[in-house]
């Protein structure tokens, strides 16, 4: 009866949508509000918007933008980018998002997650954990905006975030981002087994089979992706899409 969600993750840079590869090599995709309208028609399960410059520029994702998305979005959506305070979250929810995605602040100040979930309920708080292999091939929790990794293993950090009150975790593989080579199933599965909150896989999905495999073998509750929802066809032309087959993947 219950089925996992298929979630397009859209990256904002200079007010446009971009798609990255391994957190760099940004390609311009299009206008974000137009994307909301296209995804409305495609009846996507949920949308996630991440402003990838906000933390670096020491600002919050534009509330005006969140409001515009809220006016158009028929689907539930979450936003992230530069969230540091309780007031930031209040403003984003008030602007119309269902949930918020916290990344840098969760890594640098785990207690912020406790305050956030006590104020808004854990269902509102998503923590995005970026995982990157170090030069020895060991998986580390990577804080992109601080340019460093944390001492905790990804599993330890995921358990810490659950304990602090996160309502959901997005586990993103930096190395697989934009490669369309398939998810890191082992990593997601290890984390899904260690926590009792939902886990969303992100990074590497290249086709329907990757998604199916991730769900069946890795126990992800959400299958998130960028490339497969913004590129289409063998030449990978830019075209927002959400194949009808996707929803039948789990039957």
């Amino acid at each position: 009866m219950y089925r996992p969600r298929l979630i397009p993750v859209l990256l904002l840079k200079d007010k446009g949508l971009v798609k990255s590869r391994q957190f760099k090599d940004f390609a311009y995709i299009g206008d974000p509000i137009n994307a909301v309208n296209v995804f409305n028609d495609l009846k996507v399960d949920e949308l996630i918007f991440l402003d990838i410059q906000a933390t670096k520029e020491n600002r919050l994702i534009s509330l005006d933008f969140v409001r515009k998305v809220g006016e158009e979005a028929h689907m539930p959506f979450a936003v992230g980018g530069g969230i540091k305070t309780i007031e930031d979250i209040r403003n984003i929810i008030h602007a119309g998002a269902e949930r918020v995605v916290i990344n840098s602040s969760a890594g640098l100040n785990p207690d912020f997650i406790t305050r956030a979930s006590e104020t808004f309920g854990s269902t509102t708080i998503i923590v995005c954990i970026d995982v990157k292999k170090d030069i020895w091939g060991k998986e580390k929790v990577w804080i992109q905006n601080a340019g460093k990794s944390l001492p905790n293993t990804p599993v330890e950090f995921a358990m810490l975030m659950e304990e602090k009150g996160a309502g959901e975790l997005i586990i993103q593989s930096v190395s697989l981002d934009g490669t369309m080579k398939g998810y890191d199933i082992g990593l997601i599965k290890e984390i899904a087994k260690a926590v009792s909150i939902p886990v969303v896989a992100l990074g590497g999905a290249g086709n329907l089979n990757d998604i199916k495999k991730m769900y069946k073998e890795g126990y992800a509750n959400g299958l998130a992706a960028g490339s497969i929802f913004v590129y289409y066809g063998p030449k990978k032309g830019v075209l927002l899409n959400y194949p009808e087959d996707l929803k039948n993947v789990f039957n």
């Binding site: 028929h74 539930p76 269902t123 009792s196």
Partner: protein
């Protein structure tokens, strides 16, 4: 005169999604924290996201409870609770261990899951509703329609006749209730595309 639909604003979460979906149906609700507005309302939609205890405290501090009771229990105007708004209609919740509005014989408990690998809590995402009885609220909504859920706690109804629909998440829980003029859904119709819009327009038409 079109019906006056009130969305009480008591500082709990995202009222605007509900307001916007009504706008799309050309319905303009009143969003207000003024108890006097409750008196004037023909219908009430009670949304809410967040902590049960905090929500009850806010209803008290905004002085809304007496007017709500008057409208719902004495005047018997139609009321639709959404998510936490539904939970507030019950007698008590495990979340904060306090009493609710007590409009329906039900209590609120946390999900108690055995298979924690498959069924994570919160229950987030799209799930189906198994309809238990006929009702104008679910007119033309097919059995097993999908709706969007986002919650860690759910209703346990003491009165089977009040159950309008159930949803399975390892076990069946009450996901929609209807007792005379009092209606409530655990899911978010305002975020559930066609079926959700239908449910809201059914409520408007009641």
């Amino acid at each position: 005169m079109p019906a006056r639909i009130l969305i009480p604003d008591f500082g709990m979460g995202n009222l605007h999604s509900v307001e916007r979906s009504l706008h799309r149906m050309n319905v303009v609700p009143v969003v207000s924290s003024d108890p006097a507005e409750i008196k004037k309302a023909d219908k009430i939609i009670l949304p809410g996201v967040g902590h049960f205890k905090k929500a009850m405290e806010n209803l008290k501090s905004f002085n809304l409870i007496d007017e709500l009771n008057e409208s719902v229990l004495i005047k018997k105007i139609p009321v639709l609770g959404i998510c936490l708004g539904l939970q507030l209609m019950t007698t008590k919740s495990e979340e904060g261990n306090i009493s609710g509005l007590g409009w329906i014989d039900a209590s609120v408990v946390k999900f108690s899951i055995q298979d924690t690998l498959t069924y994570k809590v919160p229950h987030i995402g799209w799930n189906k509703i198994l309809l238990s009885k006929k009702s104008n609220l679910i007119n033309n909504i097919p059995d097993l329609s999908e709706f969007y859920f986002l919650h860690s706690y759910h209703l346990v109804s003491d009165n089977k006749e009040d159950i309008l629909g159930e949803t399975n998440y390892e076990y069946n829980f009450t996901s929609a209730i209807e007792k005379d003029n009092i209606m409530g859904v655990q899911f978010h119709p305002e975020k559930s595309y066609t079926a959700g819009t239908k449910l809201l327009s059914n409520f408007i038409a009641i």
